[in-house]
């Protein structure tokens, strides 16, 4: 909302320069978006809080500026010279919805000459962003900018039977509004109608059928107060934002509707001539008594943490328009009708604080009983997970949790896949954000696509975030983790074989294993499995205690193609809701070995289709308690190993915590292992 410095000065003396005023207004709680200088004047574009309808006009802003120096603003006069004829002989008003229209006034001005406004008025309006139309309409806008009371002027001779009826629209009723739009109204819309038809949408916009035109001689002037939620809902429903609506939805001064009308009548008389008929019609069935608030003065210090002199506080409240009865440390404050926001003592404390100066409130560190600072365990766990992956060389990405079902098609998901069950937004804004994500993978793939398209082809990234799933009538949130690796993992990789330097399934698995290791989660089972978005022969699931935690593997070539990615992209996604509860963040000391380990190497030729995990499981089983570790150090395919087989070489380490092992004991254990592998897997042991 714009205010002019010269206009404000009609109601308050302002000693400050333009820049100083621009600094002072925010200190009072009135935001300044911009200042536009016009010759020696300035237009301030103000940001008015949603609860301060009273600041939507020059007088309101002037009141705040006056209170800053503990004086009151000077409101303009509204004393039209009235004719002996009475308006009620020509005009009838009927308010059928008094709850939605607490007050409605109508005045009649006759023998008006419609024409252009005087230059001073037109210039002020335009400086405030309001187009000048004609002298009568301009007066209604002028008074709105001056006092905050929106108004509407009808051509009396176009209003059927001289009647104004406030009622809900009839089904199918139509109205062409002043913006030229032909609107279909519904029974939730409140209209101001004449005897037969709607003539305006209450509080928001007038109708073309009764508008002021050059030939208008008799002006029927409406000034009313409307129920703010009604105006807000109607404006939103119709998609119409007007200056009038912006004020009514914050709430105007119902107590001052009549005086605003009188002010407008006087101005119309001044700029368009004519005679004001006496007796403005005023339908105000239940006038609101002024609100009173009991204010114990110590409550100011209790909230602010500093003592404000009671005399200064009283002066502040009085200059803001309150009546204050002073008792000993107890005030009874009568709140002016324009301050609809003031309900209780805290609101008055804020008024006192604003004018006392927030900058004068000291900075103080709280003196309270303290508890130990803490972090929710799940947040601590998240931090650890993030840290492990970063140490493993992955970079954290963040992607938007809003998505669309179409992204799942790119993952080759079958129609009945659980991720297809998505939570839709009731009121999406853009077509790419219609649902909540059920997986982090499409987001990471999109990140990879963006980077690869910019020739950033080495990407090892992860996201730790939430996915959302329908759960009865509610929504379940799950913490998930996704990893993506493609391109080089090693820089300066000259003479380094690509299986080491370039991300592969095994690099991805290594990152997952590092995570498991750091969370001290044992017993993870990796098994080849068909996963829709993964390469059919290079995908796996990971499970713990028989519960699937997630999947990992090379991206299916079709999925890679759909995301414009090279063929060698590896992705994993894990459900942290399964993983984290199994994590152990409090490791216990394990005694360091006191006796030396005995190492034996074992090489076994085994059919390709036997998973390495199975070989390792059998070694561990047969090796018994003395077998301390099993580490695969070579996989060899080619002569002399027969086709369909490979040679697996393991370093076995044997140790006892009680004694140095004898060669015989170790030999016996190795023998058990070789026998088991031979018997169970038809392995050939190489010597």
């Amino acid at each position: 909302m714009k205010v002019l410095l010269s206009w404000l000065k009609e109601y308050v003396d302002i000693g400050h320069g333009i820049d100083e005023l621009g600094e002072r207004l925010p200190m009072l709680g009135i935001g300044v978006d911009s200042i536009e200088r016009v010759r020696d004047d300035a237009a301030f574009d103000l940001e008015v809080a949603a609860n301060r309808g009273d600041l939507m006009c020059h007088l309101g802003v002037a009141r705040e500026l006056a209170a800053a120096t503990r004086i009151a603003a000077r409101p303009p006069a509204g004393n039209p010279r009235t004719d002996s004829t009475t308006a009620s002989d020509f005009v009838r008003v009927e308010v059928r919805e008094p709850a939605l229209c607490p007050r409605f006034t109508a005045a009649l001005i006759v023998d008006v000459k419609v024409g252009p406004s005087p230059e001073w008025m037109a210039r002020r309006l335009e400086a405030c962003g309001v187009r000048s139309i004609n002298n009568v309409v301009d007066v209604t806008n002028y008074v709105m900018l001056e006092l905050g009371q929106p108004m509407h002027a009808f051509d009396y001779d176009l209003v059927q039977d001289g009647r104004l009826v406030v009622r809900l629209a009839a089904p199918g009723e139509r109205l062409t509004t002043l913006d030229g739009v032909d609107r279909s109204l519904d029974p939730q819309t409140l209209v101001v109608a004449d005897a037969g038809r709607a003539a305006g949408i209450a509080g928001i916009i007038g109708g073309a059928n009764t508008e002021i035109r050059a030939s208008t001689r008799r002006v029927l002037l409406e000034a009313a107060s409307w129920h703010p939620p009604l105006i807000r809902r109607t404006g939103k429903r119709l998609g119409v934002r007007t200056e009038s609506g912006a004020r009514f939805e914050r709430g105007i001064d119902t107590g001052a509707v009549l005086s605003a009308s009188l002010r407008a009548q006087q101005l119309i008389q001044e700029v368009a001539g004519g005679r004001v008929l006496s007796g403005t019609l005023d339908v105000y069935p239940s006038p609101q008594p002024k609100h009173q608030v009991q204010m114990a003065w110590p409550s100011v210090a209790r909230l602010l943490g500093t003592a404000v002199a009671q005399a200064d506080g009283v002066a502040i409240l009085r200059s803001l328009g309150c009546e204050v009865q002073e008792g000993h440390a107890n005030l009874v404050v009568t709140v002016p009708s324009f301050r609809r926001d003031v309900e209780r003592v805290e609101d008055l404390v804020e008024d006192v604080a604003r004018h006392y100066g927030y900058e004068r409130i000291p900075e103080h560190m709280p003196v309270e009983e303290t508890a130990l600072a803490s972090r929710a365990p799940v947040l601590e766990a998240e931090r650890i997970v993030r840290g492990v992956l970063i140490r493993a060389g992955l970079t954290e990405a963040l992607t938007v949790s809003l998505t669309t079902p179409a992204v799942l098609d790119g993952l080759r998901l079958p129609a009945d896949h659980p991720w297809r069950s998505m939570v839709p937004l009731r009121n999406p804004l853009i077509k790419d954000h219609t649902h909540l994500r059920t997986t982090l993978l499409p987001g990471l793939l999109q990140v990879a696509r963006v980077n690869v398209s910019r020739r950033v082809t080495d990407a090892q990234i992860f996201e730790l975030g939430r996915t959302f799933h329908p759960s009865g009538t509610s929504v379940a949130e799950r913490r998930r983790l996704a990893l993506l690796m493609t391109g080089r993992v090693l820089r300066g990789a000259w003479n380094v074989p690509p299986e080491v330097a370039v991300a592969s399934y095994f690099h991805l698995k290594g990152a997952v294993e590092s995570l498991l290791h750091e969370l001290r989660v044992g017993g993870a089972v990796f098994a080849a499995a068909p996963v829709p978005w993964l390469h059919p022969a290079r995908g796996a699931t990971m499970s713990l205690d028989g519960r699937t935690v997630g999947t990992l593997g090379e991206l299916h070539p079709e999925v890679a193609a759909a995301y414009d990615l090279p063929s060698s992209v590896h992705v994993a996604e894990l459900d942290l809701e399964v993983l984290l509860p199994r994590a152990n963040f409090l490791p216990q000391f394990v005694p360091l070995p006191r006796f030396p380990a005995v190492r034996r190497d074992l090489a076994a030729i085994i059919a390709d289709d036997v998973p390495a995990a199975e070989v390792e499981r059998l070694i561990a089983e047969a090796g018994g308690s003395l077998l301390a570790s099993v580490e695969l150090f070579d996989v060899y395919t080619g002569p002399p190993v027969p086709a369909g087989h490979h040679n697996l070489a393991y370093a076995l380490s044997f140790r006892s915590s009680e004694r140095t092992l004898s060669a015989e004991e170790v030999d016996a254990a190795v023998r058990r292992i070789t026998e088991t592998l031979t018997r169970r897997l038809r392995a050939k042991i190489r010597r």
Partner: protein
């Protein structure tokens, strides 16, 4: 047979050292070694004389000869290494590397600049004794709005246009909703902070995203005031932006606080909004089951994304979500 004096030994030692150091080739070194340390070398000859010495002198003479032999052997070894290293194509010289070749570098992972900013904020408030809690992103209308004193038709809802999932279910528009949950069923004092994603129905542009981050904290007690709010937030500003940071508190409006204040810092020639704050409205405390006659509370909600943009000079908020690795690696 002459009796060798210590003086003679020193002379022999010097001559031997000189011969070893002067040896210009491995062959010359071997010759010198043989002359002094060989089976018929000078040192061996001296050892042969020891038995002929008076009994009282023998132990000392033996010890001196041993020391001399050890010293010379070390000198020979060292000189041999030098000669070997210098000889082209032989020994350690053949193991030379080009020390200017690029190093093998495992690419280092990085934390996203936004989650790092959130952690920084958490750390600062943790240091002031705050309890860092978690909340959900899907919320009920009751908690997100009603319990924060924003009824159905509250105009403030316009600035927090929300994504609804069902009649009473929406994506939280602010982390303040976590405060409303945490207060229920607890007895003051409390000081609590939560951070995370929030959602508002804003079309993506250079300064808006429908998803953004907030850090929201509050403190409840019997003597909590605006002065405490200013103290805590000023401490935060100094820790986050440096002790010389210029900041101000100006009046503002939030339905859930009264009085309300906005915290801004002076950055690059303009005021940058950092937080909305204030004293919790008594109705908010009442709805959470806390007696406003006994307790007061301050609350604040810090923006994260826009201050991070300004702080790091990032011109477009969408760059955070673009995840160009060349950008992420700059921070």
């Amino acid at each position: 047979m002459t009796t060798s004096k210590p003086k003679d030994l020193d002379k022999i030692a010097r001559e031997a050292q000189r011969a070893i150091l002067d040896a210009a080739s491995l062959d010359a070194l071997e010759e010198a070694r043989r002359a002094y340390l060989g089976r018929r070398g000078l040192v061996a000859q001296l050892f042969d004389q020891v038995p002929s010495l008076p009994a009282a002198q023998r132990p000392q003479a033996g010890r001196q000869l041993n020391e001399l032999r050890d010293r010379l052997e070390r000198a020979v070894t060292r000189r041999r290494e030098e000669l070997q290293a210098a000889a082209p194509g032989t020994g350690l010289a053949a193991e030379a590397i080009d020390v200017t070749l690029p190093g093998r570098r495992i690419s280092l992972g990085r934390q996203h600049i936004l989650t790092r900013t959130l952690e920084e904020i958490e750390r600062i408030f943790f240091g002031m004794g705050f309890e860092i809690v978690d909340g959900t992103e899907v919320e009920t209308d009751e908690f997100n709005f009603e319990r924060l004193n924003m009824g159905r038709d509250h105009p403030a809802r316009d600035t927090q246009d929300s994504f609804y999932l069902a009649d009473d279910l929406l994506l939280r528009t602010h982390t303040t909703v976590v405060d409303a949950h945490v207060m229920v069923g607890r007895t003051p004092p409390m000081r609590v902070l939560s951070t995370g994603r929030c959602y508002r129905r804003d079309a993506p542009d250079a300064t808006h995203m429908p998803v953004f981050h907030q850090a929201d904290g509050f403190m409840v007690g019997e003597r909590i005031t605006m002065a405490d709010l200013k103290g805590v937030l000023a401490a935060f500003v100094r820790r986050m932006f440096g002790s010389e940071a210029v900041y101000r508190f100006v009046p503002s409006y939030f339905p859930f606080t009264e009085p309300s204040a906005e915290l801004a810092i002076w950055f690059n020639g303009r005021w940058l909004e950092l937080a909305g704050s204030g004293m919790f409205h008594p109705r908010v405390l009442e709805m959470a089951g806390i007696d406003p006659a006994r307790y007061t509370a301050f609350a604040f909600g810090l923006g994260v994304d826009r201050p991070a943009m300004v702080r790091y000079g990032i011109p477009d908020i969408r760059l955070f979500w673009d995840n160009d690795l060349r950008l992420l690696e700059q921070f």
